[in-house]
Structures are given as structure tokens and as C-alpha cells.
């Protein structure tokens, strides 16, 4: 199936500043939840802004359902709902009116029943006649989501949806996102909380300094993450890995004094016992052993570190 969003060589640079997006290419599949993970200032919001029409890219193309976002902006934008990171909301308008405005802006005929459904789903129905400046921060965020959903988008961008949000609202948002995905909405969310990406996403992209460093299925990434590494220190330098140990896929340290063994903690058999027996049988003596967890955080920090 053709990707619902196709980003090709997208670059955004400012004349008096750094390159905010550096040749980013990414295909987003219909119906998936993709999380863009990266530190503050990595370019996540710039990427979203370029796709949604808030900024004009320096070069590169983006198509949404085959519609070019510049040539065919009406068709492209009509499919997209955007929940911005900043809580920008008309202070003196009621929840109802501001939500209806968004639906109109996106060219949709007035449909009070749909707006009622959206407001109820976000627990905003009782607040529909409340002015936005009288709402709590969490409620304002819900209003932004309601506005984005008011025009029945097929794609939803959530820019840092849970930044500064309490735990219960975060759980609510996650539940809502899952429900939207079940309804067939494609969701792109940015976050700098790794646990959020782990919890929500089908795929995870890591972005830093305007570059997309990696996009991977979460399960694949988690396999890397569920892995552990056993490192054994040797008493004598080993010139090469003996043939009897080939099946363990060991990695010999540069100095020949360590062996590393990667295994999956979630597997029924880790192979450690047999490895240690085979090491002894091969006449290799150990001075120490050490095991390390790898986590998404490690992968992330490693990727971001390499990019520094």
C-alpha cells in the first residue's frame, strides 16, 4: 500500500540560523502510530510545521495521500489535524465556538452532532459553554485536540501531547490515541519521553539536529532493547575465537582480552550456562564477568551521541 505521507529530502534552513531540517525522508503508512523521538530543538516541530503548512520548506517534497502539500495544499491539508505543542487558544471564546470554527476553516459543513461526539469523547461536553481562558491547562490541551478532530482528519499530528500533563491525563490521551488508531486515523506524535514512544508507537523515529537518524519498528527496536550483553574478561590474550565457540557469535575485544556475548533475556534459554561450559572446555580462563542492559535510552543516547 502506498504510504499516506511521503516525505522526500525535506530541508529547512534559515538564512541567519542553523539547518532546522537536514534532508529528511520518511514514509508514513496509513493507520500506524509513529513516534518521533528527539531532544528539545531536534527539529521535530519543524518537521511537523513543514508538513502542515506552517512554514515553507527550503527544499524537498511532501505528499499526503498523493497530494503535494504545496501545489495541492487544499486536498493535502484537509486530511490533517494538528495539535500544536504550544497551548494557543482564543481566550475569550467558548469551547463550543472555537471547536466549530476549526471545522469551518477546514471546509466542513457545520455538524453539531459530530462536534458533540468529539467533545464528549474528550470529557469537554460539560465545559462547552465555558470560555477557554477559564479552563485548566489540561483542559485547554483537550480543547486543542477537539479542534483538531472537529474536521474528521485521517491524519493526526500530536506535537508533544503530554508535555507538562499530569499522569491521569497522559493515560487518557494514550487511550484516546489508541481509539483513534482503531478508527483508522494515522497518528504522528513527537515526544521526548522515551516511555511514551515505547507505550504508544508502532514505529519510532529518532531525530536530532535536524537529521532523522533511525526509523524502526518498535518490536525490532525493542528486541535490540530487550537484549543484554555479557562481557567476560580473559586472563590471557586470545588471538582469535576458537571454532568450538563459533555458534555463540562472540565478539572479541580489540585488545583480545574480552569476549562479548549478546543474548535476549526474554528467551527461554539464554545460552549462558553452555557458553561458560564451552569456554572452560576450550581452556579459556576468566577473570571477571559483567552484564549490561541496553534500553531505548541507551540506543537513543548512542545515536544522538554519534550525531554530535
Amino acid at each position: 500500500m502506498a504510504p499516506i505521507i511521503s516525505i522526500t529530502s525535506l530541508t529547512k534552513s534559515y538564512t541567519d540560523g542553523p539547518t532546522a531540517l537536514d534532508n529528511v525522508s520518511l514514509d508514513i503508512e496509513a493507520g500506524e502510530i509513529i513516534a518521533l523521538l528527539g531532544p528539545n530543538g531536534a527539529g521535530k516541530t519543524t518537521l511537523i510545521s513543514a508538513v502542515c503548512g506552517l512554514i515553507t520548506p527550503t527544499s524537498g517534497t511532501v505528499t499526503v495521500c498523493g497530494h503535494d502539500i504545496r501545489r495541492d495544499y487544499r486536498a493535502a491539508r484537509a486530511l490533517i489535524g494538528l495539535v500544536p505543542q504550544e497551548v494557543s487558544i482564543e481566550p475569550f471564546e467558548t469551547v463550543w465556538r472555537t471547536t466549530r470554527l476549526t471545522r469551518g476553516l477546514f471546509g466542513k459543513r457545520r455538524d453539531d452532532a459530530h462536534i458533540e461526539t468529539v467533545l464528549r469523547a474528550l470529557s469537554l461536553w460539560d465545559k462547552r459553554d465555558t470560555r477557554c481562558n477559564e479552563l485548566s491547562g489540561g483542559m485547554k490541551r483537550r480543547v486543542l485536540i477537539a479542534k483538531a478532530l472537529s474536521h474528521e482528519p485521517r491524519i493526526l499530528f500530536l506535537d508533544e501531547p503530554t508535555a507538562g500533563v499530569d499522569v491521569s491525563l497522559r493515560r487518557d490521551m494514550w487511550a484516546l490515541v489508541r481509539k483513534l488508531r482503531d478508527d483508522g486515523v494515522t497518528i504522528i506524535l513527537t515526544t521526548h519521553y522515551i516511555e511514551e514512544a515505547e507505550e504508544m508507537a508502532d514505529r519510532i523515529g529518532v531525530i536530532d539536529k535536524g537529521k532523522l537518524l533511525l526509523v524502526e519498528d518498535k518490536t525490532v527496536l525493542m528486541k535490540r532493547l530487550g537484549g543484554k550483553r555479557l562481557t567476560v574478561d580473559l586472563s590471557e590474550q586470545l588471538p582469535a575465537i576458537p571454532a568450538s565457540l563459533a555458534k555463540y557469535d562472540l565478539k572479541l575485544g580489540d585488545d583480545g582480552m574480552t569476549l562479548a556475548y549478546d543474548y535476549d533475556t526474554r528467551a527461554g534459554r539464554t545460552g549462558i550456562t553452555r557458553l561458560l561450559a564451552d569456554l572452560a572446555a576450550a581452556g579459556i580462563t576468566l577473570t571477571d564477568l559483567d552484564t549490561q542492559n541496553s534500553s531505548l535510552e541507551d540506543v537513543f543516547l548512542q545515536l544522538v551521541g554519534e550525531n554530535a
Partner: protein, 253 residues
């Protein structure tokens, strides 16, 4: 054409107006009453007539024009500046709408508001002086064209402004002097020849003159010239807005 979007913007802006309708109305009506008291009654007792029109009635078109220009500019500039200021402009930029539609929505609403206020002032003036409108059709025509032109200027100011101070400086420093010097309260022919020549350089003179002609059938300049001036304002406004949006100036980085 995204008609729904134009209507959404228009209704949203008009709702703001009607929500604060008493504030919106009170200030222009109060200042108009003050002008009538000071100019119409106090000074008018000594001037009596200007070219056959009682002075109290003579100033009515100028007062309406003064209000229309101020209201059109301030409403339109605030209408687009406020979303920029609070950040909700993201919605306009991400919506499937063209610049033309944004302009029609905001300028249409600002023009409507200023016309409503103008008509309220006209009605208010009936309480003070007997005003007879010789050419009602032309009166409405001048009113609408002026309101639209200056709403366009206001829209440009709102796009240009980076602070509330900048938002207010043009109406305060440019429009008010031009209206006062444009014959709102006197006929240009009452000035010495040199200053009459200077006054004719003031574009607003042609607006007030044409508008006054539609009331009393008399004017400083031929009504055709006034009509041409209004059309020119409109063309400049449309041209400037078009140029701004072709370049995405100050809206989209």
C-alpha cells in the same frame, strides 16, 4: 473556493463584535455625541451655515467618515493581529484555505462592523440635527467602498505589526490627522488658497467630499473625482494584500 472557511471566519469575528456590542458601540457613539455638542452646538451657533447647509448637519458625513476609517482599520488590524499574538494563527496556516479567503473573511467582518457603527452614528445624528440624504444609494456605495478599502489597510497593518504599539500608531498618527485635515469639520473652500491646495493633496478629502455630496448634493471636488479616489484606495489595498501574500510576508517563515 472554501466558502465554509470564509463564513467560519466571518461568523467568528462578528460573534466577537456582538459579544462586546455595547463596548463596540458606546465609544464611537459617545465621541460622536461630544462632537455634536462641541462643534455642532457651541461652534455651530457662530458658523450657522456652510454653503447653504446648517453647520450641525454639515459635519455629519465627516463624523461618520472619521468613525468608519478608525473602526475599519482598528477592527481589521486587531482581527488578524490577535491570532498572531496569541498563536492561534497556526490554525489559519494549516487549514485548506487560500489567502484570498482569509482576507475576505477578516476584511468582510471588519467592514461590516464599521458600517454597522456608521449607521448607528447616522441614526444618533438624527437626534441632534435634521439630516436629509439626497442620494442614499451613493451614500451606501461610498460607505461600503470606504469601509472595505480601509479594512484592507487595517488588515495589512495587522500583518505588519509586531506589537500592540505598532498596531495603534498608524490609526493614531496617520488616519486621525488626515481626517481632521480632510475637511471633516469644514469645507476646503473655507481655507486660504495655499492651504486649500495643500488640503487637496490629502486623499481623505476626496472621500469625505464624495460622501458629503451624497448627503447634500454639494462637494469640495466633483463627485466623479471622489469616486475615482475611492476606487484607487480599494485598488491599492487589494494590490498590497496580494503582494504581501504572494511572498508570505510575516505570516509563514
Amino acid at each position: 473556493m472554501n466558502i465554509e472557511a470564509i463564513l467560519a471566519i466571518y461568523r467568528f469575528e462578528m460573534a466577537r463584535f456582538f459579544r462586546t456590542v455595547w463596548q463596540s458601540m458606546a465609544s464611537p457613539v459617545l465621541s460622536t455625541v461630544l462632537y455634536f455638542v462641541v462643534f455642532g452646538t457651541a461652534i455651530g451657533n457662530r458658523i450657522q451655515e456652510v454653503e447653504g447647509v446648517p453647520y450641525g448637519a454639515f459635519i455629519v458625513p465627516g463624523l461618520i467618515m472619521l468613525t468608519v476609517l478608525q473602526q475599519a482599520i482598528s477592527n481589521a488590524s486587531f482581527g488578524i493581529y490577535f491570532p498572531k499574538f496569541i498563536g492561534t494563527v497556526y490554525e489559519l496556516l494549516s487549514a485548506p484555505i487560500s489567502v484570498i479567503e482569509i482576507v475576505i473573511g477578516y476584511v468582510g467582518a471588519a467592514a461590516t462592523k464599521s458600517i454597522i457603527i456608521a449607521l448607528v452614528i447616522l441614526v444618533t445624528s438624527f437626534f441632534f440635527v435634521g439630516v436629509h440624504i439626497a442620494h442614499p444609494f451613493w451614500m451606501i456605495g461610498f460607505l461600503v467602498l470606504t469601509a472595505v478599502s480601509f479594512s484592507l489597510f487595517g488588515f495589512i497593518i495587522g500583518i505588519w505589526a509586531k506589537s500592540f504599539e505598532q498596531l495603534q500608531i498608524i490609526p493614531l498618527m496617520v488616519i486621525t490627522p488626515l481626517v481632521f485635515l480632510g475637511g471633516a469639520f469644514y469645507s476646503a473652500s473655507m481655507l486660504p488658497p495655499f492651504w486649500e491646495g495643500v488640503a487637496r493633496l490629502n486623499p481623505v478629502l476626496y472621500l469625505i467630499s464624495g460622501f458629503r455630496w451624497s448627503f447634500f448634493g454639494m462637494a469640495d471636488v466633483p463627485v466623479g473625482v471622489s469616486l475615482f479616489a475611492v476606487a484607487l484606495f480599494l485598488a491599492i489595498g487589494i494590490g498590497a494584500v496580494w503582494a504581501i501574500f504572494r511572498t508570505g510576508w510575516r505570516l509563514r517563515a
